[in-house]
C-alpha cells in the first residue's frame, strides 16, 4: 500500500493530475477528520481539506522524498485547519449525537462524560486543540506532532502540557 502511495506521489510530483486525484480520494477522509478535530466545524473542516490539497498540488514538486508525503500532507492539513480558525469565527456545526450513535462502537466512557470532555475541548484555543488532536487522535509521537505543527519539539512539549492543563481547567469550570 505504501509503495502504491509512493508511486502516486511520484507521479503527482511530475504533474500527473490523475495520480493526484487518486491521492485526494485516498486521503480525504483521514484529512477531514484531522481538520475536524481542530476546527470543530464540518464545513470549515472541508474548506481546510480543500485548501490543504490545493497547497499540496501547488507545492508537491518541492517534496523530494515521496515517503515523506504522509507527514508533509498532514502538516499542510494542520496548517490549513489553523488558518481556517483564524480566518473567521463561525457557529460550530458538530452533531455530537450523531457521532455518539455509531453502531458497533462500544463506549468505554459514559457518553455524558465524553460529551462533557468534548465540550471542554471545543472551548480550547485552536492551537491547543491541534496539539491535543495530533497527540491523542492522530496518535502521533511528540516529534511527529511537532513536525506537523512546524514547531520545535520543546515547544510542542510545553504546548501539550499547557493544553492539557487548560482542558482540565475547562472541565473544572464546566457549569
Amino acid at each position: 500500500m505504501a509503495a502504491v502511495a509512493g508511486n502516486l506521489v511520484l507521479a503527482a510530483r511530475s504533474g500527473d493530475a490523475i495520480a493526484f486525484a487518486a491521492l485526494v480520494h485516498a486521503e480525504t477522509p483521514s484529512a477531514y477528520r484531522l481538520a475536524l478535530s481542530i476546527v470543530r466545524s464540518p464545513s470549515e473542516a472541508e474548506d481546510a481539506v480543500q485548501e490543504a490539497f490545493l497547497r499540496a498540488w501547488r507545492d508537491i514538486r518541492s517534496l523530494r522524498d515521496p515517503d515523506l508525503w504522509p507527514a508533509w500532507f498532514r502538516r499542510l492539513t494542520v496548517r490549513s485547519a489553523l488558518d481556517q480558525t483564524r480566518r473567521r469565527p463561525r457557529v460550530r456545526e458538530v452533531d455530537l449525537d450523531l457521532a455518539f450513535n455509531v453502531p458497533g462502537l462500544e463506549p468505554s466512557v459514559h457518553p455524558a462524560d465524553r460529551m462533557e470532555l468534548m465540550a471542554g475541548f471545543d472551548r480550547l484555543r485552536p492551537d491547543d486543540r491541534a496539539i491535543l488532536a495530533l497527540r491523542f487522535f492522530a496518535d502521533l509521537e511528540l516529534p511527529d506532532a511537532a513536525a506537523a505543527l512546524g514547531i520545535p519539539l520543546g515547544t510542542a512539549k510545553s504546548r501539550l502540557h499547557r493544553a492539557l492543563g487548560r482542558l482540565r481547567d475547562q472541565m473544572r469550570h464546566e457549569p
Partner: protein, 371 residues
C-alpha cells in the same frame, strides 16, 4: 482511565466517526484540475499506458472526466487546400507545414488524456476513437473511457499522425545539450528553428516508423508529435516527402525572438511580479549576476522554515529558443552548528514580457530548518 486516555477515547469516538461529504474529494479534484477534465487513452507511444491499472482506478474516481464533451468517433475528412506548388498547407493548433496535395487529410481533434490527435494525412488511413467502458461485476471502477489511435497502412502507403501532448508528464524544454534526454535510437535535430527529437524504428515485417517530437513555442509542458508509418514499396520516395514536410514546419504564431540585452530589464520585471505574489522571491537581486545577503524564512515553493536562515541570493537570466526567459535563482547558506552548508536553485520561467510562469524547484542540498 486517566485524562489523556479519556480524551483519546472521546476524540476517537466523536471525530473518528465523522465522515466528509460524499462529493468532497470530487470537488477537490475539480478545483485542482486547472487544465480541465481529461480522458484516459492507451497511447503506448507516449508511455501513458504504462500506468493503465492506475489510470483505470483513477478514472473510477473521476466520473466528472466523462462529460458531455465526449466525442465517440471524431473523424471528418476534408479536402486539403491545394497550394500552387502542388502542395497542401496544414495549419492547426500552432503547427503549420506543407504536404503533398495528393494526400488525404482526416481531421480528428480527439482528446485522449493529455494527448490530442490533430490530423492524419497520407495515402493510408488513421482513426482516433474514444468509447465508454461499462464496468463488469468484478471491476473496481465506476466508469471509464477507452481511447485508441489506429493507423492503417498498406503496401506503398504512408500515414502521418499529428498529435499534440499537453502535460503531464511534464517533459520540460527539449535540451540538445543534455544527452540523458535521449534514448539510444533517438537524436536531437532542429525543426522549425526549435530543438526536436527524431527517432527511427525499423523492422523487416512491420511498417517503417519515423517520429519527430517537437517543441511548442512558449510551452514547457507541451510537445508536438509527428508519427509516420509507411510500408514498402516506394519507401525512399515516401521518406523524402515526409522529410520535406518536416523541413517546412513553422510555428503559428511565430516564435518570439528574445534579445539577451533585455535580460536585466526582464529580470527586474519578473522578480517584482513574483515577489508581489510570494515574498520568498524578495531576496533575489533584480540585477542579474550580482549577489546580495539576506535572511529568509521561506524558500520559493516551500512551506515556512522553522527558523530564520541567513543566505546569499543570486539571479541569472537567459533567453531560450522556445521564446521564454529562463531565470535561475540561487540561495546559498553556510554551515552552522545545526546545519550543513548548501544551496537551493529555483528556476522561474518568464514570458517574453517578463510575466512569471512555471517554476521548477531543484536542489542538491538538504533544506535546513524544514519541514
Amino acid at each position: 482511565m486517566n485524562a489523556e486516555e479519556r480524551l483519546s477515547d472521546a476524540l476517537h469516538s466523536v471525530v473518528g466517526a465523522a465522515r466528509p461529504s460524499p462529493d468532497l474529494a470530487d470537488r477537490i479534484v475539480e478545483r485542482v484540475s486547472v487544465t480541465g477534465p481529461r480522458r484516459v487513452g492507451p497511447i503506448a507511444r507516449f508511455g501513458l499506458v504504462a500506468a493503465a491499472v492506475l489510470a483505470l482506478v483513477a478514472v473510477a474516481m473521476l466520473p466528472l472526466a466523462i462529460g458531455a464533451r465526449l466525442n465517440l468517433v471524431a473523424e471528418k475528412s476534408h479536402a486539403p487546400t491545394a497550394a500552387p506548388t502542388g502542395l497542401a498547407h496544414f495549419d492547426r493548433d500552432g503547427l503549420a507545414f506543407d504536404y503533398p496535395a495528393a494526400w488525404m487529410a482526416t481531421t480528428s481533434g480527439q482528446n485522449m488524456h493529455y494527448v490530442t490527435v490533430l490530423d492524419y494525412i497520407g495515402t493510408g488511413s488513421g482513426l482516433a476513437t474514444c468509447v465508454p467502458v461499462t464496468p463488469g461485476p468484478t471491476d473496481q471502477f465506476i466508469s471509464g473511457t477507452n481511447c485508441g489511435a489506429n493507423v492503417s497502412v498498406g503496401p506503398g502507403q504512408v500515414v502521418v499522425e499529428l498529435m499534440r501532448q499537453d502535460g503531464p508528464p511534464r517533459p520540460g524544454a527539449i535540451n540538445p545539450s543534455d544527452p540523458s534526454g535521449l534514448d539510444p535510437t533517438s537524436k536531437y535535430v532542429t525543426v522549425g528553428g526549435l530543438p526536436a527529437i527524431f527517432t527511427e524504428g525499423r523492422s523487416t515485417d512491420s511498417p517503417v516508423t519515423l517520429d519527430w517530437t517537437l517543441s511548442v513555442p512558449g510551452e514547457l509542458s507541451s510537445r508536438y508529435q509527428i508519427h509516420v508509418e509507411m510500408k514498402a514499396p516506394g519507401l525512399d520516395e515516401m521518406r523524402a516527402e515526409v522529410e520535406a514536410l518536416v523541413a517546412s514546419v513553422q510555428y503559428d504564431p511565430l516564435i518570439p525572438v528574445l534579445n539577451a540585452a533585455d535580460g536585466p530589464r526582464i529580470a527586474a520585471v519578473g522578480l517584482a511580479k513574483a515577489a508581489a505574489n510570494d515574498q520568498s522571491f524578495a531576496c533575489f537581486p533584480k540585477e542579474p549576476g550580482t549577489t546580495v545577503s539576506a535572511t529568509v524564512t521561506q524558500f520559493p515553493g516551500y512551506s515556512p522554515l522553522r527558523e530564520q536562515l541567513p543566505v546569499t541570493c543570486t539571479t541569472q537570466i537567459v533567453p531560450t529558443a522556445i521564446g521564454l526567459w529562463k531565470m535561475t535563482l540561487t540561495e546559498s547558506w553556510t554551515a552552522a552548528s545545526d546545519r550543513s552548508p548548501g544551496s537551493l536553485t529555483t528556476t522561474l520561467w518568464l514570458a517574453p514580457d517578463g510575466t512569471p510562469g512555471e517554476e521548477d524547484g531543484g536542489t542538491a542540498s538538504a533544506i535546513p530548518y524544514w519541514p
